[in-house]
Symmetry: C2
Amino acid sequence: MTTDTPTQQTVEWLTAEQQVHWRSFRGGAARLFAALEHELEQQTGLSTHEYEVLVRLSETPDRTLRMAQLADNLAHSRSRLTHTIRRMEEQGLVSRLPCVEDARGVNCTMTEKGWQTLVAAAPSHVQSVRDHLVDVLTPAQFAALGDAMETVRLHLTGGACHVE
Amino acid sequence: MTTDTPTQQTVEWLTAEQQVHWRSFRGGAARLFAALEHELEQQTGLSTHEYEVLVRLSETPDRTLRMAQLADNLAHSRSRLTHTIRRMEEQGLVSRLPCVEDARGVNCTMTEKGWQTLVAAAPSHVQSVRDHLVDVLTPAQFAALGDAMETVRLHLTGGACHVE
DNA sequence: GGAGTGTAGTACAACTTTGAACTAACAGTT
DNA sequence: AACTGTTAGTTCAAAGTTGTACTACACTCC
């Protein structure tokens, strides 16, 4: 959009250059995530959300996380996570158990099938990430991308939530 | 996930450093887009998709685009765009007219109300983008981000679709 | 030990997105 | 003109997502 709105008070518009960068970012990210989603779905039947759930669980000592931790890590709403985990439970990838320390809580554990599914899916997903992102950029570019987005993330989460 | 899969053939895993960058990127981008979506929704009632539709239309001489062009620009599926435009038409933001040159086609035009809606929404959205992205980074960082994602985008679209 | 407040997770209903199937129209061939 | 293949856009049903409301438990502090 290019317009002069003379009555605007304090908004500082983006420069033409900034607009170009912003669009590249938005468009590139959207297409990248869509491509990764599609390839993972085709090759393994998993959505990237399900894949990420498995990854998080796989990184804990007992392959278990509380629902809320999982939701925070993934930046998903509680409601959305409940649905995702229910579906994954139906597929036998995870199982839910009441939490002993806090009777309100629910522990979500990765099953052996979930683990096998992740091990089977990881190579092709990693390859996709390489193909469309990592290997397309120079190492310095990729590092700069990561650093910049880490700054953005920290700013958004108020410095908390170092996990994701 | 950290595992050694001895039987894997040719997959090159990400280094620890690359994994960190990849997660920062994924997590930062997800949170950023979610935040922008929320703020735009709260402040104007528009979704970012609807906003983007209006932006694209506003940039053409006659505030009109074919459905397919719109879908390509936004990297949305045809089906999704049909739904979005139907909803926007119900709100009076756009209108659809059969295309004269190609009787299969449909021209989507921005109404005056659509234009006014965009003009009213733009300042706060621009401010959000500044607050959470542009002003959080150094100009060099932001430019590098844009350049990197442009490279990613071009790679994904095979160099075509310069518009987005 | 009971009231009030906050947190964990689920259920529900409305809405959005997806992918496949479908209709209509163009374009090239013979 | 009929035949084939392609493109434009919509429709349909299934699946996913959202926000709110709800239940259950925990924490505090009087």
